[in-house]
Amino acid sequence: MQTYDLDASGLRGLNAALHAQAKDTNQTTWEIVNPKGSHAVAVGLDAPIEVTVKGSTGYYTAGMNKQATVNVQGSAGPGVAENMMSGTVIIEGDASQYAGATGHGGLLVIKGNASSRCGISMKGIDIVVHGNVGHMSAFMAQSGNLVVCGDAGDALGDSIYEARLFVRGSVKSLGADCVEKEMRPEHLELLRDLLERAGADAKPEEFKRYGSARQLYNFKVDNAY
């Protein structure tokens, strides 16, 4: 295992070392100590490596991730796993605003709560939040799945396209054009797989599904100001 002291050796060195890992690298396990809320920790990875961050991080942790598994043993600041393409990002604590924003693929697991705008403009990523999400989550979500084991804040799924939203607890309010939808067998199966992969102790039957009413797809004069 490679151990990297972020406080002593700096961010550029860390990300350069992680970027240098090839597909068949032998250095598959990395541990980052003393993150101290640093920004841009383990961003732009593109190798099947496992990175564990021992502590809390700042902005844009594990952004643009491909292939790698990044585990933050603390909380993450704004924009964690932003624009993730593939791989897995696991946050043991809470995540700040816009977690998983614009993500194209991969799995983001937040074991605590996520704040506002979780999954904003998501484009295929799967996000599983063990706790609650804040207001405007899944705003303009295009595809992928957002699973919330706790409660959702105001305006969930505002202006949503085709992403699927699953919430176990209460939804404070739904955003424009977001509606509750029927939970069909294929959704239960999808949800069971996501919950299992995210290590979430919840039953698919306890969730409700929300999605697009598809009323904003075409211009309607009633929607104009």
Binding site: D94, S96, S115
Partner: protein
């Protein structure tokens, strides 16, 4: 961007280190705003004294003999302790506001940064490390304090455009964000007779709170009302004589993190600002909710999530 920090001590053993802890937190936030910096620190020097923090471009001239003139006007003893471009005027207890009024006639060129019983505000153009060093903030003890480092958006980079802003006796405000209706609100407040000195948006926010409180609102009510009347982005941290309060606008795009232990409650724009506080690894860390007013006070057992009265 701007960076905000706040530290409220529960453990009196930390009080001698307040200035050093706050300075360290603020320096960590330097890259959120390098234009100007300021710190408000609450410390009681003597039971029977109130105080003003004043500032002048040319302290050699402006501060000379000023204490005696204020003493004569107030009819009590006044001492002046200079600290670089600032000075603290100690006046008889309860006469800080009166002294502030007299200052306008006696020394119109001297700016009053703060007035009250325990509050002192130090702010200047420059990096947090330089501003803290020129006033020797790290050596200051106190019960609680707030700090700000500014990236200017709405007005010029000047001493008077720096935060914190004094909003009333022993009250001050720092702001991260930008208010978009400050011009119309400034005109409205000026018609109401509120004195506003600069084109700065936060000064209007501070003046708004002052005006609300002059009309009978508590600080908590004034902050609640700000959610309706102020347009734009804001995280406010307000200092009060016995604690501090936090409020975020309903959209809450400006970052905010809080941490609490048995020893302190701390606020930072980012978690980075909090990492060197004692016992932070075991602290409860969370983000304050949007459109919710929080207060911590020395007067009673502080509780997170305690809403304004």
């Amino acid at each position: 961007m701007c960076g905000i920090v706040g530290l409220f001590l529960k453990d009196r053993a930390l009080e001698p280190h307040l200035g050093a802890l706050l300075t360290d937190m603020l320096i960590t936030m330097t890259d959120r705003g390098p234009d100007s910096a300021g710190i408000a620190i609450y410390r009681a020097d003597a039971e029977s004294r109130s105080k003003l923090t004043i500032q002048a471009e040319d302290g050699d001239t402006a501060f000379t003999g000023l204490g005696d003139k204020i003493a004569a006007a107030l009819g009590g003893s006044v001492t002046l302790s200079r600290n670089d471009t600032h000075a603290v005027l100690h006046v008889p207890a309860g006469q800080a506001e009166e002294a502030r009024r007299k200052m306008r006639d006696i020394a119109p060129d001297v700016r009053v940064m703060s007035f009250g019983d325990t509050l002192e505000i130090y702010k200047e153009v420059g990096l947090p490390k330089d501003v803290a060093a020129r006033f020797n903030i790290p050596s200051m003890s106190g019960t609680h304090g707030i700090g700000h480092t500014r990236m200017a958006t709405e007005s010029a980079v000047t001493t008077m455009g720096a935060h914190p802003f004094n909003t009333g006796s022993d009250q001050c405000l720092v702001h991260n964000g930008s208010l978009s209706n400050h011009n119309s609100l400034r005109r409205k407040l000026q018609r109401e007779g509120i004195h506003i000195e600069t084109m700065n948006d936060t000064e209007v926010g501070a003046a708004y709170l002052t005006w609300k409180m002059q009309n009978g609102a508590t600080l908590g009510e004034a902050l609640e009302a700000s959610l309706d009347d102020l347009d734009g982005f804001f995280n406010f941290v307000v200092g009060t004589k016995d604690g501090f309060g936090v409020v975020r606008d309903p959209i809450a795009c400006k970052p905010a993190v809080m941490a609490e232990t048995d020893q302190f409650v701390a606020f930072g724009s980012e978690y980075r600002a909090l990492v060197n506080l004692p016992g932070i690894d075991d602290a409860k860390v969370w983000e304050p909710e949007p459109a919710t007013v929080y207060f911590w006070s020395h007067e009673e057992t502080p509780k997170p999530n305690k809403k304004a009265a």
